[in-house]
C-alpha cells in the first residue's frame, strides 16, 4: 500500500514551534541520527569531513563523531565507492558522498559491476549495504558538469536501488531508510531544491522551505519505506508521475492552470511503487510523466512502458513525457533546456484535449 497524502508528523523544537529545516539540514539531521544509532555508519567523501561538504550536508559530523567516522577522501570517485564496498564487506554501513552526480562516472564500474552484483554473485554471502549520496539536477547555472540527472544509468542496472527525495521531510526519512537498507542505494539529492521548493518559474522570486508544510522535520528517528510513492495532490483529470525538483514544478503548473491531478512523487524509482501508479492511472485514464533528465532511455521510458502494459485499457489518451532535451546541459540556455511550465503546459493541453 502506498502512503496516501501523509501528514508530516509534527516536530516541535524547544520553544514548542514546528522545527523547520531545509533539505540540507534535513539530510544532515538524517546522517546525525543514523550515526548516533549505529556506530557502523561512516560518512566520507571529497571535502565531506572537516569542512562538511561543499553543500554542507555533512557539516558538524566530524566534530561530533570523530575523524574516523566522518572524513575527507582523496579525489577518486572510484576509490570512494570501492572502499565503501570493502567497508561494507567488513560490516560497516558506509554513506559515501559523491560531490556532484556529474562526477560519479569514475566510480561507475564499482557501482555497476561490483556493488550491484555482490549479493548475487556470492549467493548472499556478501552484500554492499552502502548509500551513495550525491547532489544532482540542474537549474543552478552549473553548466554540463554540475547539472546532470543520470538516474536512469542506475535504474537500468540490476541490484541497486535508486531514491530521490523531493522535500526535507522525505529527505530525512528516506535517507535513514536507505542507510538501514542492506542493499546498495543511490540517493540523488535534487540540489535545486536544497534551499527552497523551486516551482519552475525561474524569473519569479525564490522561495525558501520555511513556509512549505513538508519542511517540518521531526527530531529523532523515522524512516520512510523505500518503494512507496507519495500522493502530493489528488485529482480526477490526470495522473502525473514525477520525482525530485519536478514535483514542485508540476504542482505549480497544475495550480496555475487550474488542473486537478493526482501528482505522484515516486520517491523511489527502483523498486517502484507500481501499485500506486496503477491505481492512479486506472482512476484518471491519463498519464503525464515528467523528469529533468534527458528523454531517450530516461526513466520516463520505463514508466511509459509499465503504464502501457498495465493500464492500456484504462487509457483515454496517449501517455505524455516531458523531459530535458537530448543534449548536454547548456550553461547560458539553461532555462530553454529545463522542462519548465511551458513544456509541461503544452503536454497538458494535448492530454486534456483528448
Amino acid at each position: 500500500m502506498s502512503e496516501t497524502k501523509e501528514k508530516p508528523k509534527q516536530g516541535r523544537d524547544a520553544t514548542g514551534d514546528d522545527r523547520r529545516l531545509n533539505m540540507i539540514e534535513a539530510i544532515n539531521d538524517a546522517l546525525d541520527v543514523a550515526m548516533g544509532r549505529d556506530d557502523n555508519v561512516v560518512v566520507f567523501g571529497e571535502d565531506a569531513g572537516y569542512f562538511g561538504g561543499v553543500f554542507r550536508c555533512t557539516a558538524g559530523l566530524q566534530e561530533k563523531y570523530g575523524k574516523t567516522r566522518a572524513f575527507d577522501t582523496p579525489i577518486s570517485e572510484c576509490g570512494i565507492i570501492a572502499t565503501a564496498i570493502g567497508m561494507g564487506a567488513y560490516g560497516l554501513r558506509p554513506v559515501p558522498e559523491i560531490q556532484f552526480a556529474d562526477y560519479i562516472y569514475p566510480g561507475y564500474d564499482q557501482i555497476i559491476s561490483e556493488a550491484a552484483r555482490l549479493r548475487y554473485r556470492s549467493a548472499g554471502e556478501f552484500s554492499a549495504p552502502i548509500t551513495i549520496r550525491s547532489p544532482f539536477g540542474g537549474g543552478i547555472f552549473g553548466g554540463q558538469t554540475h547539472s546532470q540527472s543520470p538516474e536512469s544509468l542506475f535504474t537500468h542496472a540490476s541490484g541497486i536501488k535508486t531514491v530521490i527525495p523531493a522535500t526535507p521531510y522525505d529527505a530525512k526519512g528516506l535517507l535513514i531508510a536507505a542507510i538501514e537498507d542492506n542493499d546498495p542505494v543511490i540517493f540523488f539529492e535534487p540540489k535545486r531544491i536544497y534551499n527552497g521548493p523551486f516551482d519552475g518559474f525561474f524569473d519569479r522570486p525564490v522561495k525558501n522551505w520555511k513556509s512549505h508544510p513538508d519542511s517540518v522535520v521531526p527530531e529523532g528517528h523515522y524512516a520512510i519505506p523505500l518503494g512507496k510513492a507519495r500522493l502530493v495532490t489528488e485529482g480526477e483529470q490526470l495522473t502525473v508521475l514525477t520525482y525530485g525538483t519536478m514535483v514542485h514544478v508540476a504542482k505549480a503548473v497544475m495550480e496555475e492552470k487550474g488542473v486537478e491531478a493526482d501528482i505522484l512523487d515516486l520517491r523511489t524509482l527502483v523498486p517502484l511503487d507500481i501499485e500506486a501508479v496503477e491505481k492512479s492511472v486506472k482512476k484518471t485514464g491519463k498519464c503525464l510523466i515528467i523528469h529533468e533528465a534527458t528523454r531517450t532511455s530516461g526513466f520516463g521510458a520505463e514508466l511509459s512502458a509499465l503504464v502501457q502494459e498495465r493500464c492500456f485499457y484504462h487509457l483515454e489518451a496517449p501517455i505524455e513525457r516531458v523531459t530535458g532535451f537530448d543534449t548536454p546541459y547548456p550553461h547560458s540556455l539553461e532555462w530553454a533546456y529545463f522542462p519548465g511550465p511551458v513544456r509541461i503546459g503544452a503536454a497538458l493541453d494535448k492530454l486534456l484535449s483528448e
Binding site: K67, I75, Y103, P106, G143, F325, T327, S332
Partner: protein
C-alpha cells in the same frame, strides 16, 4: 621459528590514520619552517636524454634558480634575455588584472563562476613560454595563463565567461572552460584528470605520425588521486610518449590539503619513480625554474628521450573559486607565511636587480594591464552578460551534439522554438 600468521590475543589494535593539515582557521602561528627549501642553483641538471633514474634524486629535491639575492643561479638558469623576461612579466601582470576583474564581475552578478590562479601564474605562463606555440596543451581550469601567454584575445575569454552572444563556445560551457584549436589549446573538461591520459594519447598520435609536436597536460595535486592520472603515467611510460605531465601542487584541493592526495608519504614528483618516468620537482613560484624545467622536459620529449612528470610546488593564494570561502578550513595566515614568495614579485625583483626594470615601469605596466582588461570587459558586455537575456539562439542548443542532427533532435529543436515563441511572444530578450 618461521614468522607465520597465528591467531593470538596479544596483537596490537589497529588504528586508522586520517591526515590533518597543520593550520586550521584561528591557528596561533603559521610556521612553514619545516618545509625544506634548498639553496637556489644547488640542484644538478642531468642531460635531457638521460635515463629516468638519473632524475630520481630531483623528485624529492626542489629545483630553484632565483635566489634571495634576486639573481639566477646554477645549471638550471635558462639564461633568458631581458626582453623575454619582460614579456613574461607582462603576461603575469595581465593575468593578475584579468583575475581581479573577472572575480569582481562574478560578484557583481555578471556571470555564474570564476577561478583565479593567484600565486600560481608561473606554473602556466613560464611553462608555456618554454613550449612551442603549436605544441598541444591539455590544461585544467586554472591555466588561463597558458591562453594569455599564447596570445588568445582577452575579449574572447570574457565573452566565454559571460556566456554571451560573442562566446565562441555558444554559451554551452561553464565560465573559464575555454577551448581554442587555433591556439593548440584543448577544450577544458570540468571532470578532473580526464585530460591527462588524453594528452598522452595525443602525443602517441604525434609519434605514430612522425610529427615534431609534443603534448603537455596540467593537473592539480588533488586530482592525481584519480585513476586517469595513473593511466596517463602508465601509457606515457609504456610508449615512451612525447608528453609532459605537469602536476600543480598548490597544497589545496578545495578544502582538502595535499595530504589527502598522499603528500604526507611522498612527493608528487616521486610518482615518476614507480612508473619509470623522468621526474622533476620544481619551485613553482620561481618563474625561471618553471621555465627551465618545462624546457628540459620539452627537449627531452622532442628528441624521443621520453616523457617527464613535473611537480610544481606552489600555493593557492586565493579561494578555490568564487563558490569557495577558504576561511572555513585553513588559516588566513598561510598565504603570507608561504616561504616561496610571490612569482610576480620575484620576477620583477630579478629584472630590477639586472638593471632592466624599475618600480615605475612596473606600476605603468600594471595600470595598462588593468586598463586593457577594463576596456575588453566593456567591449564584451556589449555582447551581454549571463542571466540577462538568452544570448544564443535556441537552435544552437541542439547543434554539435552530433555532426548531423538526428530526427529526435530535430523534433526537440522544433519544440524548443515553439516554446520560445510561447514564452517570448514579443521576441527573446537579448
Amino acid at each position: 621459528m618461521a614468522d607465520r600468521p597465528e591467531r593470538t590475543d596479544n596483537k596490537p589494535q589497529l588504528s586508522l590514520h586520517i591526515p590533518e593539515p597543520n593550520y586550521r582557521p584561528g591557528a596561533d602561528e603559521v610556521d612553514f619552517s619545516a618545509i625544506e627549501i634548498p639553496e637556489a642553483g644547488a640542484q644538478p641538471r642531468p642531460d635531457e636524454a638521460c635515463d629516468p633514474t638519473e632524475t630520481h634524486g630531483l623528485c624529492t629535491d626542489l629545483i630553484r634558480v632565483l635566489g634571495e639575492d634576486n639573481r639566477a643561479h646554477g645549471p638550471w638558469d635558462p639564461k633568458l634575455d631581458p626582453d623575454t623576461l619582460r614579456e613574461m612579466l607582462h603576461h603575469f601582470s595581465l593575468v593578475r588584472a584579468f583575475d581581479e576583474r573577472m572575480f569582481r564581475g562574478q560578484r557583481q552578478g555578471k556571470t555564474s563562476f570564476y577561478m583565479k590562479c593567484t600565486g600560481e601564474e608561473a606554473t602556466s605562463i613560464s611553462t608555456s613560454m618554454a613550449l612551442q606555440s603549436d605544441d598541444m596543451v591539455f590544461p585544467s581550469y586554472r591555466q588561463q595563463g597558458v591562453l594569455i601567454a599564447r596570445g588568445y584575445p582577452l575579449l574572447e575569454m570574457i565573452n566565454q565567461i559571460y556566456s554571451n552572444s560573442g562566446d565562441k563556445l555558444k554559451g554551452r560551457q561553464l565560465p573559464i572552460m575555454y577551448s581554442s584549436r587555433e591556439h593548440s589549446f584543448f577544450s577544458i573538461s570540468g571532470n578532473l584528470a580526464t585530460q591527462v591520459p588524453q594528452a598522452v594519447g595525443w602525443a602517441m598520435a604525434s609519434a605514430i605520425k612522425h610529427d615534431t609536436r609534443i603534448a603537455a597536460s596540467w593537473v592539480g595535486e588533488g586530482s592525481t588521486a584519480e585513476g586517469d592520472f595513473h593511466a596517463a603515467c602508465t601509457f606515457a611510460s609504456v610508449y615512451n610518449a612525447p608528453v609532459i605531465l605537469n602536476v600543480i601542487n598548490n597544497q589545496w584541493a578545495i578544502s582538502s590539503f595535499s595530504g589527502f592526495a598522499g603528500s604526507e608519504r611522498a612527493t608528487f614528483a616521486s610518482r615518476a619513480i614507480g612508473y619509470g618516468l623522468a621526474g622533476l620537482r620544481v619551485d613553482g613560484n620561481d618563474p625561471l625554474a618553471c621555465y627551465a624545467a618545462e624546457r628540459w622536459a620539452a627537449n627531452r620529449a622532442r628528441t624521443n628521450s621520453g616523457p617527464t612528470l613535473i611537480e610544481f610546488f606552489t600555493y593557492r593564494a586565493e579561494g578555490h573559486s568564487t563558490s569557495d570561502d577558504p576561511s572555513g578550513y585553513r588559516s588566513a595566515q598561510e598565504r603570507d607565511a608561504w616561504p616561496l614568495g610571490d612569482p610576480v614579485v620575484r620576477l620583477k625583483n630579478h629584472l630590477i636587480e639586472l638593471g632592466e626594470w624599475d618600480e615605475d615601469r612596473q606600476a605603468e605596466m600594471d595600470l595598462k594591464a588593468a586598463e586593457k582588461v577594463k576596456a575588453d570587459t566593456k567591449e564584451a558586455e556589449k555582447n551581454g552578460i549571463l542571466g540577462h537575456g538568452m544570448h544564443q539562439p535556441f537552435h544552437t542548443m541542439f547543434e554539435d551534439v552530433f555532426e548531423e542532427e538526428p530526427w529526435h533532435l530535430k523534433e526537440q529543436n522544433a519544440q524548443s522554438q515553439a516554446e520560445r515563441d510561447k514564452k517570448y511572444p514579443d521576441g527573446v530578450p537579448h
